[in-house]
């Protein structure tokens, strides 16, 4: 595995899981004004200051003195001082001279590399090779390939700045095939009158990346990208306040698991098979000695839940005998003998009666056991409540029930099809919850994504793969 070297740009290092693979050649592509030169100089400046690695900036068109002056006035980067300390060289020359001197044994560039023990190089910009090669694609490709090989020979980690001339992003320039990575900078309209700067890692050999379009700002400290999948985090939770979902990768995305005492929503469409996910979460709770309260749905009977739990190595009958599981049943359905005591039938109750049932029977039961330090987990399908009690009832009661659960430290998982309940209701539910998982089928694959979480980290969409052993699914 390649050693990764920090770019010195905090947000970019996070996107690259540590930095750029050592010795690789990366294209920084962008239209004029996107900050390519700033990013390049920042890479060299921070390399010299933070990592004590010397660098060379090759500039074909811009005068070095202009770069010294711009960087000092915008970011207080004193490049002349770094040159005096032999940590940097800002070299102004022509593309043909660069190539000639790089190819020449002990040429000027080679001498300079050895003189300062150069580790990093930025070339601003390789688009100029086009004029040098008389716009001959074949010749330009040969020149760029040769340049990449020379940079590799000197073991330099290189940023090759490239002007984005073709605004059609589906067009892939040949240069992208030659290099080890491509980072694209772009500017888009934002809220009518603003512009939004976007950084995207299009290609990167040798390291994982956080995919997506990352917003960046040019601050007084240089380029500052923000992770695309990041909102404002709530306060940090201790590990003991985390509960495992039973799925290693999902726990990792949630910084250790679901937050105890929080309300989560699983948004699922009709084609997605969410049962392995539910099976894993519920079985994990029961095996951790939690108590479970669940509202049975029109599509899930006690027997079906029993089958699901036994697949996940939980004997539902045993847990019922231990009085650790309780069911709320909206339908007149039989349950296996001996399990009746765990079932509350609410099928004859109107909404007011159902409220009274919750207040007078359900809540006191939970409260009495909570005082004995029992941990509760609640799971139900909100679509069943909507179909049985109406959307208005859900809108009226959901926030109240969520607040009650949170006040008692109960963890709640609610299943819902956001598309089915409509945008307004979905938006209300999303706001009321602490976390949202979304699973859906697209084409022939099922995906899972964390779209809201207390740690502020939103995940990229993960592929769900079935496995033969518990928990029977894996996120890829």
């Amino acid at each position: 595995m390649h050693k990764q070297i920090s770019t010195g740009i905090q947000g970019l290092d996070a996107i690259l899981y540590g930095g750029i693979p050592d010795g690789s050649a990366i294209i920084i592509e962008g239209a004029p004004g996107t900050g390519k030169t700033t990013l390049g100089v920042q890479f060299l400046y921070e390399g010299a200051v933070q990592a004590d690695e010397a660098g060379i900036l090759i500039t074909f068109e811009e005068f070095p003195e202009q770069i010294y002056s711009d960087m000092k006035s915008s970011f207080r980067w004193d490049l002349r001082q770094l040159e005096k300390e032999n940590k940097l060289r800002v070299v102004g020359l022509s593309p043909d001279v660069l190539l000639e001197q790089m190819m020449k044994p002990d040429g000027l560039i080679e001498q300079m590399i050895h003189e300062i023990d150069c580790k990093r190089i930025v070339i601003d910009s390789i688009s100029l090779f086009r004029y040098f090669t008389a716009a001959n694609d074949f010749e330009e490709r040969r020149v760029l390939y040769q340049l990449r090989n020379i940079l590799r020979k000197f073991k330099l980690t290189s940023l090759l700045l490239q002007e984005q001339s073709d605004l059609n992003v589906s067009h892939v320039p040949f240069s992208h095939f030659i290099v080890d990575g491509v980072i694209r900078l772009s500017v888009r309209p934002h809220l009518d009158v603003f512009r939004k700067r976007i950084l995207e890692v299009v290609k990167m050999r040798g390291t994982r990346i956080i995919e997506g379009e990352h917003t960046y700002r040019i601050t007084d400290k240089g380029i500052y990208p923000l992770n695309a999948a990041q909102t404002i985090a709530e306060h940090h939770r201790e590990a003991k306040d985390k509960i495992s979902t039973g799925i290693k990768e999902l726990d990792h995305l949630l910084d250790g698991g679901m937050d105890r005492g929080a309300v989560y929503m699983l948004d699922t469409n009709s084609r997605a098979n969410y049962m392995p996910l539910i099976g894993s979460i519920l079985s994990e709770r029961l095996s951790s000695q939690d108590h479970l309260l669940t509202v049975l749905s029109s599509t899930q009977t006690v027997e079906e839940l029993d089958t699901l739990m036994s697949r996940h190595n939980i004997e539902l009958g045993k847990v019922i005998n231990e009085k650790r599981v309780h069911f709320i049943e909206h339908y007149n359905r039989q349950v296996p003998s001996g399990w009746e005591k765990a079932v509350y039938y609410v099928n004859g109750l109107d909404n007011e009666g159902y409220d009274q049932f919750l207040r007078n029977k359900c809540y006191p039961l939970i409260q009495s056991e909570i005082s004995c330090e029992t941990k509760w987990f609640v799971y139900y399908d909100l679509n069943t409540i909507i179909s049985e009690r109406g959307t208005d009832y859900v809108l009226r009661s959901f926030a109240k029930e969520a607040a009650f659960a949170r006040s008692l430290g109960m963890t709640v998982l609610v299943l819902c099809n956001f598309k089915e309940v409509g945008e307004q209701v979905a938006s209300f539910l999303e706001r009321t919850t602490n976390g949202v998982f979304k699973t859906w089928v697209d084409g022939s694959n099922q995906y899972l994504q964390v779209t809201k979480a207390s740690n502020g980290q939103l995940s990229e969409p993960y592929l769900l793969e079935s496995t033969k052993e518990h928990p029977f699914i894996r996120l890829i």
């Binding site: 070095p64 003195e65 040159e83 800002v90 070299v91 020359l93 001279v97 000027l108």
Partner: protein, 85 residues
Amino acid sequence: MEKKESLPLQMECTMLFQANPYMIESISGLERRLGRQEEDLKPVLNILVKQGILQQIGEGTASLYRYKEPVIITDMDIPDKLESP
């Protein structure tokens, strides 16, 4: 061009290299950077090379020019008393 007449151009070239001390340029590159013509630049560059301000690499039209940073002693220990011979 006479030596006396070339003084402003000598200054222009010297200042360009002084402000961009790691620039490496051919005559045609300097033509573009300074907006001057080769026939005017050539004798001036020869003078600057002879004066030790610039270093010439290679010969003819393909020669490259770079700045020779003057060696300046900035730190010097001067003893309080001169040692007797």
